[in-house]
C-alpha cells in the first residue's frame, strides 16, 4: 500500500477508512481535531515536521467535509518557514483551505512578496502558484508589478515564467488596471514568439483574458496568434512531448482560437487567408478515430474552429459546411459529440441566418428529445425552442406536449413553460393555442405555473371569436373523471364567463354547467373555491328566467361558505349571496369581464427573468429577439398605465361598479379594477413581495436633487412602484409614443442587486446595463457592463455618478459611442466613508437615432454591502453587549407595523443582509440575536450587535435593540433594519398599541441565553 511518508498521517487515514459508519468516523475525526487543537495551543513544543503533519491532517479532515475552523494561522505561518518542505506544505494547504477573502491571507502578503522577488526559484514557484490560485485584490495591487517583471525576465527559467503568466492572469481578473501599463501589448506580442510551449500556453491564456476586455490594444497579437495556430495545425516544429495522442497541444490550439474570437474581424487579407486555410483544414481533416482520447482532443479543436468560423461570419460556403458537420454530429452514436452538435447548433442560431438549413434536421433533433441522457435531452429542448418559428411551431409544440407525459420531473416545468411560450408566440390560429394550453394543464398540471393559465384567460377574454370555443373545450375536460385542479380553475372560470354563449347546445344549460362544475368541488383546495363561487354567481346571473331549484342549490352553497374560516371565501360567499337577491341589478354588477390591456406575456418576462439555467435563458432570449407572430395580437387596447398584470385585489373585484361602464373610464383605475377577478391568489412568492415592498423605502432616502431631476426618468425609479402589484406591471407609466421603455422593472432589478452582486441594472430595447460588484471591507468595485443590443451604434453616451456624501465614487471613462453589438465595461470604485443609508444614483443617457434616452438609476452600493457576516460566540457577545450600555451607542425601539414574518423567515432575511443570526444566544425562541461587522473609513471594522424580540401574539410589532461602537452607525443600522422589517408603503399610523412585551425574565444561570436575557 502506498503510504504518505508521514506515519501519523497514514495511521489516521487508515483509522478513518476503517470506521464502520459515519458516526464512528465523526468520533475519530473529532478526537483528532481535539488532538491537533491541543498541539497547536502549545506551539512551542512543535517541531516543523509535526506542524506539517498536523496541517495535512487538517486538510484531510476538511476534505472529508468537516468544518475545520482553527489552525488556519498555523498553515499560513508555515509559509514563512525557512526550509522548503515546510514552506511547500504551508503554501499548498493555505491555498486549499482559504479563499481570497480570508483575513489570514493578508498576513502572508509580505512573505509571499519576498518569495516572489527573492532568488530562490522553487520559492518563487510556490508563491506564484498560491497567488495565482487564491490571490485577491490586495495581492493584485501589491504584487502585479513584480509578477510582470518575472514573466518577461530573460533570466528566469520557463518554469517560473509560465507560473508568472497565469498568476498575472489571476491578478488581472481581480483588478484589470494592474496590467494597464504602456507598452504591455508589445510585451504580449513578444511573449507569443516564445519557444517554450509551457510558457506559450500560459501566455495565451493571459492573452485571452486581456483581449476579451480590450481587443483594440492587442491588435498586434492577432497575426501572431494566426501564426501559432498554423504552426500547431500543421505540426511544424512541435516537440514530441507537446503532442497529445499525436495532436500538437490541443489545449494551445483551442486557446489560440479562443483569443482570435475576441477580435471582431481579421482585416489583413493575408492573415485572413492563412487563418481560413487552417480552419478549413481543421474542419475537413478531423476524422472520427477509435481512440477515445484522440477523438476528444481532435474534436475539442474542431468545435473551437467551428466557433471561430461562426464568429468570423465567413463566406457562406464555410458556414454551410459547418451546419453540415453539425448535422452529422447530432446523428452519431457517441454521446459527447451528439451533445456538442446540439449545443453548437443552438449557438449557431444566434449568430447567423441558418435557420432553414437547421430545420432540415428537425426530425433528428426530436429523436434526441427522447435520448436516455438528460444532458442531451436538455440541449435538444434548447435547440427546438430556439429554432421554432411560425412554420414549424405546430410540429414542435405537439412534440413537446407528447414528450411531456414521459419527461423527467426535473424537466417538466421548463418544458411546459417553453411549450406555452412557443404556442403563444407562433400560434397559427387562436383555437390551437387554447388547445395547447389546456392539454398542457391536463398533462402536467403540477408543473404549469399560474401565469400560464392566467395568460390563456386573457386571450379568451380579449378575443370574442374564441370564447365559445374555449367554453366548449373547458366543458369537454370537465367530463373527464379526474382532472388537475388548475384545470378546474380555468374551466370554471371560462364556463362562468362564457358558458351561456352555448346555452342552446345540449348539455350546456345553466343547471348542467353548474352540476358538472360542482362535481369537482369536493376535490379542490381553498385556493379554487373562490373561483368556483364566482363561477356559480355568474351562472346564476345568466339563468334567465331564474330557476328556483338551481337558485336554491347555489344559495345553499353561498350560505355554507358564509361562515368559512378563509376570509376571502367568506366574503365572496356573503357578497354573492346578497347580490344575487337583488334580481335584475345583478346583471349590471356581474356583467362580463372587460378586455385586458395588451401587455407583454408574463411568461416571456418570467423566462427572461429566470436565472435558473443560463443555457435555457439564452435560448429563451434568443427567441424573444425574434419576430413575434401577429396571430395573437390582442384586440382591444387601453392605455397601459396603472394596470397591474397580476393585481391582487379585494374579493369585490368581480363585481363591476355599476357607474363604471366597460372601457369607458380609463382614468378611474385607482379603484378596484374589474379585471382582477381571478387573480386573488397572487402567484408571486410572498417573500419576494415583501422584499420588494420593504426595499421600496430605500428610494425615499435617495440623495435629494439626484432623484427628482428628470420627471420622466423619475417614473422609472424612485417613484416607480413600491408595491408588488405595480412592480409586476410591465410598462409603469404611459408616455408619449416613441419613447424608449425599459424592459423589466427597474425597482425590482435594483432590489435584487441590493441582495446579490451581479445582474442586470437596467435594460431597454437598445441597451443593457449589467453590474458586477465586489465588496471588500469599506471598499467596493462595481463594473458597469454597457451592452449595445442593436446593429447600429449608440451615441452621446454619458454616465454621471451622483454620489451621496458618505460615498466616494470614481467612474472610469465611459466612451461616447458604443459600437453595434458591443459591450463596454466601466469600472466604478466605491469607498464608504461613514455609515449612511443614502443611495448613489447613476445618471445615464444615450442617443439612439433621434431619440435621446435618459434614465436615473439607483446604484446598489447600499449599507448592507459594507457588512461582513460574523458569528460571535457567547464569550465575545456578552462583554460587548454589556460594554455598550445605552444611547447613543445602544438604541432601542419598539417597531410597529412590521410585516408579519415567521421567525425563520425573519432570520433568513437577516442573513441575506449579512447580519448573521446567532442561534442559541437568546433563550427565548421568539427572539433573534444577530451580529455583523460594518466597514467604513471612519469607523473601520466595527462590530454591530442586534437583538429582536418578537411577540408571538402580535407579529406586527417587535422590539429592536441595536448596538455598536459608533452612534451614527447604531442609528443608521437601526433605521436600515427597520426599513427592511416595516412595510412603509402602506404604513398607516396605528393607534398606540400596548408596549412591546417585556423581555422574558429568566433565572440567572451560566446558560449563555439566560445570561443574555439577564443583561437585557
Amino acid at each position: 500500500m502506498a503510504l504518505s511518508g508521514m506515519r501519523g498521517l497514514s495511521v489516521f487515514i487508515s483509522d478513518v477508512r476503517n470506521c464502520q459508519n459515519k458516526e464512528q468516523e465523526r468520533l475519530r475525526v473529532d478526537k483528532e481535531l481535539g488532538n491537533v487543537r491541543t498541539r497547536f495551543k502549545n506551539e512551542k513544543g512543535l517541531s516543523p515536521y509535526e506542524k506539517k503533519k498536523y496541517v495535512w491532517k487538517m486538510l484531510y479532515i476538511y476534505m472529508l467535509g468537516y468544518d475545520v475552523d482553527f489552525g488556519h494561522m498555523e498553515a499560513v505561518s508555515l509559509i514563512s518557514a525557512p526550509k522548503y518542505p515546510e514552506k511547500q506544505v504551508g503554501y499548498i494547504v493555505t491555498a486549499c483551505l482559504l479563499n481570497e477573502n480570508h483575513d489570514f491571507l493578508r498576513l502572508a502578503i509580505n512573505t509571499v512578496r519576498n518569495d516572489i522577488i527573492g532568488r530562490n526559484e522553487t520559492f518563487q514557484c510556490l508563491a506564484l502558484t498560491l497567488v495565482g490560485n487564491i490571490g485577491g485584490r490586495e495581492f493584485a495591487e501589491s504584487l502585479a508589478a513584480d509578477v510582470q517583471k518575472l514573466l518577461i525576465s530573460s533570466s528566469c527559467r520557463p518554469l517560473v515564467r509560465k507560473k508568472a503568466a497565469l498568476c498575472l492572469l489571476r491578478l488581472y481578473r481581480k483588478n484589470p488596471d494592474v496590467v494597464n501599463v504602456d507598452g504591455w501589448a508589445d510585451r504580449m506580442a513578444q511573449l507569443l514568439d516564445e519557444r517554450d510551449l509551457g510558457v506559450l500556453t500560459s501566455s495565451m491564456s493571459l492573452l485571452v483574458a486581456l483581449v476579451s476586455n480590450n481587443h483594440e490594444a492587442y491588435w498586434s497579437c492577432l497575426p501572431k496568434c494566426v501564426k501559432t495556430l498554423e504552426r500547431l495545425a500543421r505540426n511544424q516544429d512541435i516537440p514530441q512531448e507537446y503532442t497529445y495522442y499525436g495532436i500538437p497541444s490541443p489545449w494551445l490550439q483551442v486557446k489560440t482560437m479562443r483569443a482570435l474570437q475576441y477580435f471582431p474581424t481579421v482585416e489583413d487579407p493575408n492573415t485572413r487567408r492563412s487563418l481560413f486555410e487552417v480552419l478549413q483544414r481543421i474542419l475537413m481533416g478531423t476524422d472520427v478515430v477509435k481512440n477515445v482520447n484522440k477523438n476528444n482532443a481532435s474534436h475539442a479543436v474542431l468545435f473551437e474552429a467551428l466557433a471561430l468560423v461562426m464568429h468570423l461570419d465567413a463566406e457562406k460556403e464555410m458556414m454551410s459546411q459547418c451546419v453540415a458537420l453539425l448535422g452529422k454530429f447530432i446523428a452519431v452514436r457517441e454521446p459527447n459529440i451528439r451533445y456538442l452538435g446540439l449545443e453548437n447548433m443552438t449557438r449557431m442560431l444566434m449568430v447567423t441566418d441558418v435557420q432553414d438549413i437547421i430545420k432540415r434536421h428537425q426530425a433528428q433533433i426530436i429523436t434526441s428529445l427522447k435520448d436516455p441522457d438528460i444532458s442531451i435531452r436538455r440541449r435538444a429542448l434548447d435547440l427546438l425552442y430556439g429554432m421554432c418559428d411560425v412554420s414549424n411551431a405546430k410540429d414542435i409544440v405537439e412534440e413537446l406536449l407528447q414528450y411531456l407525459s414521459s419527461a423527467d420531473f426535473a424537466m417538466r416545468e421548463e418544458l411546459s413553460l417553453k411549450a406555452a411560450i412557443l404556442a403563444e408566440k407562433f400560434a397559427p390560429d387562436l383555437s390551437w393555442y387554447v388547445d395547447v394550453i389546456l392539454q398542457l394543464i391536463d398533462k402536467a398540471g403540477d408543473f404549469v405555473s399560474d401565469d400560464i393559465w392566467f395568460r390563456v384567460v386573457q386571450f379568451v377574454t380579449n378575443n370574442e371569436d374564441l370564447q365559445s370555443y374555449a367554453a366548449a373545450k373547458a366543458r369537454e375536460y370537465l367530463n373527464k373523471p379526474a382532472i388537475h385542479e388548475t384545470m378546474v380553475k380555468v374551466s370554471a372560470y371560462i364556463l362562468g364567463e362564457y358558458g351561456h354563449l352555448l346555452a342552446r347546445r345540449p348539455g350546456y344549460s345553466p343547471k348542467e354547467l353548474f352540476t358538472i362544475i360542482h362535481e369537482k368541488h369536493p376535490t379542490v383546495s381553498t385556493s379554487t373555491i373562490p373561483i368556483l363561487l364566482s363561477s356559480y354567481a355568474k351562472i346564476l346571473m345568466h339563468t334567465q328566467p331564474p330557476e328556483p331549484e338551481l337558485q336554491n342549490q347555489i344559495w345553499t352553497i353561498f350560505n355554507k361558505y358564509e361562515s368559512c374560516i378563509d376570509v376571502e371565501i367568506q366574503q365572496r360567499a356573503a357578497e354573492y349571496f346578497a347580490l344575487s337577491r337583488k334580481g335584475a341589478s345583478l346583471m349590471d354588477i356581474l356583467a362580463e369581464m372587460p378586455k385586458f390591456p395588451e401587455r407583454q406575456s408574463a411568461l416571456i418576462r418570467k423566462a427572461e427573468d429566470a436565472e435558473v439555467d443560463t443555457a435555457e435563458q439564452s435560448a429563451i432570449k434568443l427567441r424573444a429577439q425574434q419576430q413575434m407572430s401577429t396571430a395573437l395580437v390582442v384586440t382591444d387596447q387601453r392605455p397601459p398605465n396603472g394596470m397591474p398584470a397580476q393585481p391582487s385585489i379585494g374579493p369585490l373585484s368581480l363585481v363591476k361598479v355599476p357607474s363604471e361602464t366597460v372601457d369607458s373610464n380609463p382614468g378611474d383605475q385607482g379603484l378596484t379594477h374589474p379585471n382582477g377577478v381571478v387573480y386573488k391568489e397572487d402567484p408571486q412568492p410572498p417573500s419576494q413581495d415583501i422584499i420588494g415592498d420593504l426595499l421600496g423605502t430605500l428610494s425615499i432616502e435617495g440623495p435629494p436633487g439626484a432623484v427628482a431631476q428628470s420627471p420622466q426618468s423619475a417614473t422609472y425609479e424612485a417613484e416607480g412602484a413600491p408595491s408588488a402589484a405595480d412592480a409586476a406591471a410591465l410598462v409603469p407609466v404611459g408616455e408619449e409614443s416613441g419613447s424608449v421603455q425599459p424592459i423589466g422593472n427597474i425597482n425590482e432589478r435594483f432590489y435584487a442587486l441590493c441582495l446579490k452582486d451581479s445582474g442586470v441594472l437596467y435594460e431597454d430595447p437598445n441597451i443593457q446595463i449589467g453590474i458586477k460588484a465586489e465588496w471588500r471591507a469599506h471598499q467596493g468595485r462595481l463594473v458597469l457592463f454597457l451592452g449595445n443590443k442593436n446593429t447600429a451604434s449608440l451615441g452621446s453616451v454619458q454616465a454621471l455618478i451622483l454620489p451621496p456624501t458618505h460615498l466616494k465614487m470614481e467612474l472610469s471613462l465611459v466612451p461616447e459611442t458604443i459600437p453595434p453589438r458591443a459591450q463596454v465595461q466601466c469600472p466604478l470604485e466605491v469607498m464608504n466613508l461613514r455609515p449612511s443609508r443614502d443611495v448613489a444614483v447613476l445618471d445615464f443617457s444615450y442617443k439612439f437615432g433621434p431619440t435621446m434616452v435618459n434614465v436615473k438609476l439607483r446604484l446598489p452600493a447600499v449599507l448592507n454591502k459594507f457588512l461582513q457576516p460574523i458569528t460571535v460566540s457567547p464569550e465575545e457577545f456578552f462583554p460587548q453587549w454589556r460594554s455598550l450600555s445605552g444611547p447613543p451607542l445602544k438604541l432601542q425601539e419598539v417597531v410597529r407595523g412590521v410585516r408579519p414574518l415567521p421567525l425563520p423567515e425573519m432570520a433568513n432575511l437577516f442573513n441575506t443582509y449579512r447580519l448573521t443570526v446567532c442561534p442559541g444566544l437568546d433563550p427565548n425562541p421568539n427572539n433573534l440575536v444577530a451580529s455583523t461587522t460594518f466597514y467604513s473609513e471612519t469607523t473601520r471594522a466595527m462590530l454591530c450587535l442586534v437583538r429582536i424580540e418578537t411577540d408571538p401574539a402580535d407579529r406586527t410589532q417587535l422590539r429592536m435593540t441595536v448596538a455598536s461602537g459608533d452612534p451614527t452607525l447604531t442609528f443608521e443600522l437601526k433605521e436600515f433594519i427597520k426599513e427592511q422589517l416595516v412595510s412603509i408603503p402602506t404604513a398607516p399610523q396605528r393607534p398606540q398599541g400596548p408596549a412591546a412585551p417585556p423581555p422574558p425574565v429568566a433565572p440567572a444561570s451560566q446558560d449563555p441565553g439566560a445570561l443574555l436575557a439577564g443583561l437585557l
Binding site: 486549499c96 488581472y172 459527447n336 451533445y339 443560463t614 466612451p815
Partner: protein, 179 residues
C-alpha cells in the same frame, strides 16, 4: 475604454474570460478525495457544491455523455475505476478540452505512482495536490508536457529528501532554533 465583442449579447454579463472554477475527485461511495477551488467559494458553498454534484454525477449511468448542467455552469466528469474526476467550467467553455485536461491529469498521476489507484490518492493526497499545482494555476492549464511535470515533481521530492537528511544530521536544538 474597454470593449468586448459581444458574442452572446443576451447573456447577462460576460465574464472577463472563462476558466475552470473547481476540480474535485469523488469516489463511487461519495467520498471526496481531492478538491481545488479556483473561483471564490465560501466553505458553505464548497460543501454544498460537492454534495449536490455527487448526487447528480454518481447517479448517472454509463454510456451517457460526460457533461452535466449545474447551476449555470457545466461540469465535465469522467470515471476512472472507482473515482470520478470532475471539472466545473463556464457555460461557454470547451467541454472536450476540459475532458482531456482530466485525462492528462490522470496520465500524469499514473506515471508518478505507477498504475495509480484510489488508495494511492487517499494516502498520498498531498502528492496529488502538488501535481495538480503543476498542471493548473488560476483554473488554466499551465503545462501540457507530461515529461516536464514529471521532472518538476521529482525535483520537488528531491528537495524534500535533501532537507530531511540535513535535518536529521543537525541537532534538534538547531532545528528548534530555526523554526
Amino acid at each position: 475604454m474597454h470593449y468586448t465583442v459581444c458574442k452572446e449579447l443576451n447573456s447577462v454579463i460576460l465574464s472577463v474570460s472563462s476558466q475552470i472554477n473547481f476540480v474535485c475527485l469523488i469516489s463511487r461511495q461519495g467520498k471526496v478525495r481531492l478538491t481545488k477551488w479556483y473561483s471564490t467559494y465560501s466553505q458553505k458553498e464548497r460543501s454544498k457544491a460537492i454534495r449536490e454534484l455527487s448526487g447528480v454525477i454518481l447517479s448517472r449511468g454509463p454510456k451517457l455523455c460526460n457533461f452535466v448542467d449545474w447551476k449555470g455552469h457545466k461540469v465535465v466528469y469522467k470515471r476512472y475505476a472507482s473515482l470520478y474526476f470532475c471539472i466545473c467550467i463556464d457555460e461557454e467553455d470547451n467541454e472536450l478540452e476540459a475532458l482531456e485536461v482530466i485525462h492528462h491529469f490522470v496520465e500524469i498521476l499514473d506515471r508518478y505512482f505507477g498504475s495509480v489507484c484510489e488508495l494511492d490518492l487517499i494516502f498520498n493526497f498531498h502528492k496529488a495536490y502538488y501535481i495538480l499545482d503543476e498542471l493548473l494555476i488560476a483554473g488554466e492549464l499551465q503545462e501540457s508536457s507530461k515529461r516536464t511535470i514529471a521532472k518538476l515533481i521529482s525535483a520537488q521530492d528531491n528537495l524534500v529528501e535533501v532537507a530531511k537528511e540535513e535535518a536529521s544530521s543537525l541537532s534538534n536544538i538547531i532545528a528548534q532554533a530555526t523554526k
